[in-house]
Symmetry: C2
Subunit: 227 residues, 2 copies
């Protein structure tokens, strides 16, 4: 017979997978809006935000109930704490997709007249980070989680490049200043989605291995891995 | 005789109060850097970041230990969950003060030639929000926490004004574009510190009353208060 705790933990995992599915869609949609010049897609992001906000409260309530009634220990306890944090990260990521959607609405009305292929590349990388972080959680895959941490450096470098190029353009084209700022703000929001993906990856590693690798450099993390 | 759980909860509160003290200092320092043209203050913010990062891990470890060994219920359990979230918020707020410090270093080398009194006012309001959110936590004061939620609207309006004014200046003074962007990014970081203060305030209200008021409008929150 399955333990009540196991049933509760499975329900929790299902709830989080549903939220993560919405998040992945929101990341795709908010990017499509400006990439494909499709303004109609914005309302889908706002609908997702509503659903994720409701799920955010439900997941926290389930965690509280499980902690109060089941007194989980060791792996199960770490898993619930990771869910509490991942839940917050997913909700904040969806907030960022809403910000990007708002910026995209401006972008569509006033498209920038400079090359935004790096922004597009950045959004592809971030989308992959989100997918891998969620997959790492679902499959309890530490290696996939470590890959997310490494990918973050690439996203940060791309963000720096988008900032630098947009700024250079703005200096020479004062009529394009708002468009440039808008691209910079989209890049900033994408960077933050990447940061939240690394938080989830760190929580996955903690949940599975019990090792807290936050606030450590990549070098220190690999050292620990070899031990 | 005091319960082991009570001793643990008191220790946890003390740990968080120490972190909060560092955070308040970091908010003051990162603002002083650009307000008082004092570059020497940056290193103090970086030192605080190190201390808060260490404390961040310790607080989470203490929470895990208390949950595993003491099986807290009702108020005590909600308090620990609020601490886990507040701990994350404090760490992220300190990250934002580090961002502001980096922007301030640029600001000091290239001061903007437009009026930044609204940015200054915004930073005063955010500092007060941080202080009140922490005081609400320490004193378990729901009314103080509600005041933090109301203050966030004022900060958001000020941010919009800073954005608008900086943008208008940038359009007319292409030599000042980087300075303008820098001011916009400082305002954005301050806004996020304000957002984290409201997260803490919401957690304080949940911890004390058991009411989860997240994702509700101010109107709905006051309706609930009257019930």
């Amino acid at each position: 017979m399955q333990r009540t705790l196991d049933i509760g933990l499975n329900d929790l995992k299902e709830q989080l997978i549903t939220m993560a599915g919405y998040l992945e869609l929101a990341v795709v949609y908010c990017t499509q809006a400006w990439k494909n010049q499709d303004a109609s897609i914005a309302s889908s992001v706002y609908q997702i935000e509503d659903k994720v906000n409701r799920a955010h409260l439900e997941v926290d309530a389930t965690c509280l109930k499980l902690l109060a009634t089941q007194q989980p220990l060791a792996f199960d306890l770490r898993f619930i704490l990771s869910v509490i944090k991942t839940n917050t990260d997913i909700e904040r990521m969806v907030d960022q997709t809403v910000n990007i959607t708002r910026n995209s609405e401006y972008y569509l009305k006033h498209p920038p007249f400079f090359d935004t292929s790096d922004l597009s590349l950045m959004s592809d990388h971030v989308r992959q980070m989100v997918k891998n972080a969620i997959d790492a959680f679902v499959k309890s895959d530490v290696n996939l989680a470590r890959g997310v941490l490494e990918a973050d450096d690439k996203v940060d470098r791309l963000k720096d490049k988008v900032f630098k190029d947009a700024l250079a353009w703005m200096k020479g084209h004062s009529e394009d200043i708002e468009q440039g700022l808008n691209v910079i703000l989209i890049a900033r929001n994408l960077e933050r989605i990447g940061d939240h993906s690394t938080n989830i990856a760190e929580d996955v590693i903690f949940s599975i291995s019990g090792k807290d690798i936050r606030h450590k450099s990549l070098g220190q993390r690999f050292q620990e891995n070899k031990k």
